[in-house]
C-alpha cells in the first residue's frame, strides 16, 4: 500500500509540473503561429507540442483563425465624418505655446518625411511612394498659388498645384531637361497639355523645393501679347505673386515655361538652356 501511495504521489507531482509547463507554453502558441519566438523558445515549444494534442489542436485553430481574420473587410466611415476631418486642421494646435513649438512641429514633421523618404528610396519598389513623399516634403511651402489670365500660365500653375495633392507620375524614361542649373535635379517627367497643345513637364528638385519646367509649343508661348512683348523687350516673361514665380522664355523651336517658389528659381545667369 505504501509503495503504491508513493508512486501515485510522484506521478501527481509530475502531472502538476507538466500542467504548469503546459499552461505557460499555451501563452506562447500565438508567437509560434506568428514566427515571433526566439530560437530556444521554439525548441521548448516543439518538444511540448510533440506530446500534447491539446496544444497542437489549439495551434491549428490559431493558424486558421489568423488567416481567416486577415480577410475581414475594411469598414468605412461616413462621408460626413470625412468632411469633419478635412476641417480638423482649422482647429488650433497645442494650446498656450504658439510660436516656438509650431516651428518645431513643422520642422520635426518635415524631418520625419525626409527620413521616410530616404528609407523608401532604398527599398525595392519604393520609388512611386517616394515621389508622393517628395511632393509632400518639397511642395508644402507653396503659398496659395496665384491664378493667371494667360492660359498657358494658368495651366502650368494648376498642374503644379494639383501635384501638391497627388503622387507625381513616375517617368518612363528620364530624358534630358530643357534647362538646367546648379542644384536642380530631374525627378520625373511626363507628357501633359499646356495651352491646348502637347507639352512635356519636368519635375525638378531645386534645393528643398520643387520646380516644374515645361517644354511647350512655340505658338502657345507667343500667343499672349503680354508675354510676346516681355520676351521682345527682356528676352523673357516673368510673373511673381505670393512667393510663386512663373517664367517663360523662348527656345530653339519651342518655349520653356517654369513654375516654382521664387526662392527656388534659378538666377538667369545660373540657367543653362540645353536645347538652344
Amino acid at each position: 500500500m505504501n509503495t503504491s501511495y508513493h508512486t501515485d504521489s510522484s506521478k501527481l507531482a509530475d502531472d502538476t509540473k507538466w500542467q504548469e509547463l503546459h499552461a505557460s507554453l499555451q501563452d506562447m502558441l500565438a508567437g509560434y503561429v506568428d514566427n515571433e519566438l526566439e530560437e530556444d523558445e521554439v525548441l521548448i515549444l516543439e518538444a511540448h507540442l510533440a506530446g500534447c494534442k491539446l496544444c497542437r489542436d489549439d495551434l491549428a485553430r490559431q493558424f486558421a483563425l489568423s488567416q481567416h481574420l486577415r480577410a475581414l473587410p475594411l469598414e468605412r466611415m461616413s462621408a460626413s465624418l470625412h468632411d469633419k476631418l478635412d476641417k480638423i486642421t482649422e482647429q488650433p494646435q497645442v494650446e498656450s505655446k504658439v510660436t516656438q513649438p509650431q516651428k518645431a512641429s513643422g520642422g520635426s514633421a518635415t524631418r520625419w518625411l525626409e527620413r521616410q523618404w530616404l528609407k523608401l528610396t532604398f527599398s525595392a519598389g519604393g520609388w512611386a511612394t517616394a515621389m508622393a513623399l517628395v511632393v509632400a516634403l518639397y511642395m508644402q511651402q507653396m503659398p496659395n498659388p496665384p491664378h493667371s489670365d494667360i492660359p498657358m500660365v494658368a495651366d502650368a500653375l494648376s498642374q503644379y498645384t494639383t501635384a501638391q495633392q497627388n503622387t507625381l507620375p513616375v517617368s518612363q524614361k528620364l530624358s534630358e531637361v530643357p534647362a538646367s542649373w546648379p542644384g536642380g535635379t530631374l525627378l520625373s517627367s511626363w507628357e501633359t497639355t499646356i495651352g491646348g497643345a502637347p507639352a512635356q513637364v519636368y519635375a525638378m528638385r531645386s534645393g528643398k523645393d520643387i520646380v516644374f519646367q515645361y517644354r511647350i509649343d512655340e505658338s502657345v508661348l507667343f500667343r499672349n501679347p503680354e508675354v510676346r512683348e516681355a520676351i521682345a523687350r527682356q528676352g523673357r516673361f516673368t510673373s511673381e505673386k505670393d512667393g510663386t514665380e512663373i517664367r517663360a522664355l523662348p527656345m530653339k523651336a519651342s518655349g520653356l515655361l517654369m513654375v516654382g517658389p521664387c526662392r527656388a528659381m534659378p538666377a538667369s545667369n545660373e540657367l543653362t538652356i540645353n536645347t538652344i
Binding site: L72, L74, E75, L81, D86, W117, G207
Partner: protein, 210 residues
C-alpha cells in the same frame, strides 16, 4: 541613388523650420487621410455603435492634429494614430464604466481557457467557413477589450508584436500571451455560435466531423 546626396542639408534647410500653420495642416492631412478608414475599422470593431466609433475617430484625429509635433521620426503614422485611438478608447471606457457602474473588465481565468483549448481542431475550419463577416466582427466585439485590441492589431491590421507593444505600452511577452488567449476565446465563441445556429445541420453530417 544620386538623389540621396541631394537631400543633405543645404543652405535652404533653414527655410523649412519656419513652416507656417497652414502648411503643417496640409502635411497633417496628407499623412493621415489615407489611414482614416483603417482607423475607423479598428474603432468600429471595438465600439457598440458606429456613432461611438466615429466619435472616437474624430477625437483621435483632433488629438493627433493638436499633438502633430509629437510624431517621431522613427514612428509610422498608422501606429501613431492607433496609439492615440487606444488612449481615447481607454479614457472613454473608463469614464463610461464609472458613470454607468459597469462591471470591471472581464478577467479570463485559466480554467476557462483550459476548457476552450480542449475543443478539437478538426471541425474548426468548417466553423470558420460558416461564419459571415458580421458574425466574426460581433464575436470580436464581444471579447474583453485588452484581448480584442491585440487581436485586431495583429490579425486584422497585421502589425508586428513590437509595434503592438509600443502602441499599448506593454511588453512583447504580454502581447503574445494576450493574443494566444484572444484567439482561444474567439475560437471558442465561434464554435459555440456555430453550434447554436446549425445544430441540425451538424447532426446530419456529424459523421464527417468526428
Amino acid at each position: 541613388m544620386g538623389i540621396k546626396a541631394e537631400l543633405t542639408p543645404s543652405s535652404r534647410v533653414s527655410n523649412l523650420y519656419g513652416v507656417p500653420m497652414s502648411n503643417s495642416g496640409k502635411q497633417f492631412q496628407q499623412l493621415t487621410t489615407p489611414w482614416r478608414d483603417r482607423l475607423f475599422s479598428v474603432a468600429v470593431r471595438q465600439a457598440d455603435s458606429r456613432q461611438k466609433a466615429e466619435d472616437w475617430v474624430q477625437e483621435s484625429m483632433l488629438k493627433a492634429w493638436k499633438h502633430f509635433s509629437d510624431l517621431k521620426e522613427s514612428e509610422t503614422v498608422y501606429a501613431w494614430l492607433l496609439k492615440i485611438l487606444h488612449s481615447v478608447i481607454v479614457d472613454d471606457v473608463r469614464r463610461e464604466s464609472r458613470r454607468a457602474k459597469l462591471a470591471p473588465v472581464v478577467c479570463v481565468e485559466d480554467e476557462e481557457l483550459q476548457k476552450h483549448s480542449s475543443s478539437s481542431a478538426g471541425p474548426f475550419e468548417e466553423v470558420l467557413q460558416q461564419q459571415n463577416h458580421d458574425r466574426i466582427s460581433n464575436a470580436i466585439s464581444a471579447l474583453p477589450c485588452e484581448f480584442r485590441e491585440v487581436l485586431l492589431f495583429r490579425d486584422v491590421e497585421g502589425l508586428s508584436y513590437q509595434e503592438i507593444s509600443e502602441i499599448l505600452d506593454i511588453p512583447k511577452g504580454t502581447v503574445m500571451s494576450r493574443l494566444s488567449r484572444a484567439r482561444r476565446m474567439l475560437s471558442s465563441a465561434l464554435i459555440k455560435s456555430s453550434d447554436h445556429s446549425s445544430t441540425h445541420v451538424r447532426t446530419e453530417s456529424a459523421g464527417g466531423f468526428t
